[in-house]
Amino acid sequence: MYPAPFRYHRAASIEAAIRQLSELGEGARALAGGQSLLVWLKMRFGEVSDLVDIGRIPGLDAITQDAAGVRIGALATHARIARSPLAKLLPIVGDCANGIADNQVRSRGTIGGSLASGDPSCDWPVLLTTLDANLHTQGPGGARDLPVDGFVEDLYVTKLKPGELITGISFAMPVKGSAGAYVGFKRCAPAYPTISVGVQLSLKGEQCEDVRIALGSAGLTTIHARAAEAELKGKTLTPATLARAADAAVAASDPVDDQRGPIAFKQSIIKVLVRRGIETAKRRCHGETVEVSHEYY
């Protein structure tokens, strides 16, 4: 299968890419790893007049961390993040990076593309909502910082303006005693998740001091399950509180009936994954090493 013809431009810098995209106008698109865009073009879901390849812009794939926070460049691939020291330091990041598709897709796909695609099945927006991250952009109107939570406004629709590019994301280093988990359920590795759930938890003794929960593939955008968080905050994490949080997450979700399964099935998966995410995060808060990965059915 061939995409429809397009012109190809390679950007040497972020400034050059912004200029090229602005000059070329509406029909032009940025190309990062191509693991969403090329599939879309090959399937002829749409056409572009020009692709501006941002994939070689130097310095845009760095992953840095210090006591204050973490910064990941837009061009960091899923594989690069999975192998980074950050994935060991914050297991929730490793859970997510390793759970995306397969080795081949992870070699090419980028965190910036995952956010910019506005796809509710992409994992990074869910993980980054869980970690309360910000994203950084640069465009014809200058630079902006926006929260990832709410960045995707509707199915495939983001807050990006024409010619504006994501340059990276950042989030504060989780406080000591806080830990997270990212769990997913999917048909096989080279498929998007049927449901995914991110949980970041802070405990005070056995009590939940703070928690953030986000759901992926559970609606038209990432869902920040605030009602589920409210069921947990200030409470002891008993099976009954976990069950109430899981029910609240289902109530906040809006999954669609598609080839990955009917709605009722997806709702039952949300319940299981929310409980599993909280339980895993809790064990990690207690210093246990717990390996989780996306499960297949």
Binding site: P5, F6, Q35, S49, V105, P190
Partner: protein, 165 residues
């Protein structure tokens, strides 16, 4: 864009299995088509053509990729290893021998891609666990073998390459 408009070809330089090729290509040409149709290296297969099956897997600068979802222009300046690059001086690579000896293939359609994923695994991890092997070929589908003999073949090749086969 209207298809009657002419599109400028893009000059690229790609090293494939150690040999440098210079070509001018259409921007929309996929790497798999570049390998198969321009270079006539037909060992790399096209299965699903939608990034699922892994039959088109080659390595670009050492990383396994699905060449049906990479543009030839994106590989410009890069080094490709495809299944044709495995054998050296008429001698099959340990993976090729092991796939043959352990019946790691039936129809053979998935095999080049399987071996390129396995090759990338063994380059990074010479002594993989059973789980490592399963994870390494998660993006490669086989409709014939049921995978067991593929796992055995990769284990045997790993042992052979470590020198304790």
């Amino acid at each position: 864009m209207s298809t009657t408009e002419t599109i400028d070809l893009v000059p690229i330089e790609v090293t494939v299995n150690g040999q440098l090729y210079r070509r001018e290509v259409e921007p929309r040409l996929l790497l798999v088509q570049f390998l198969r149709e321009e270079l006539r290296l037909t060992g790399t297969h096209i299965g699903c053509d939608t990034t699922y099956c892994g039959a088109c897997t080659v390595q670009l600068n050492g990383a396994p990729i699905k060449s049906c979802t990479v543009l030839a222009v994106q590989a410009d300046g890069g080094e490709i290893l495809s299944v044709e690059g495995l054998a050296k001086d008429g001698e099959l690579h340990a993976l090729q021998k092991a796939f043959s000896e352990h019946h790691g293939l039936q129809c053979g359609y998935c095999t080049p891609g399987m071996m390129m994923s396995a090759h990338a695994l063994l380059a990074a991890n010479p002594d993989p666990s059973a789980k490592d092997i399963r994870k390494a070929i998660q993006g490669n589908l086989c409709r014939c073998t049921g995978y067991q003999n593929i796992f055995k073949a990769i284990e045997a090749a790993a042992a052979e390459l470590r020198g304790d086969g």
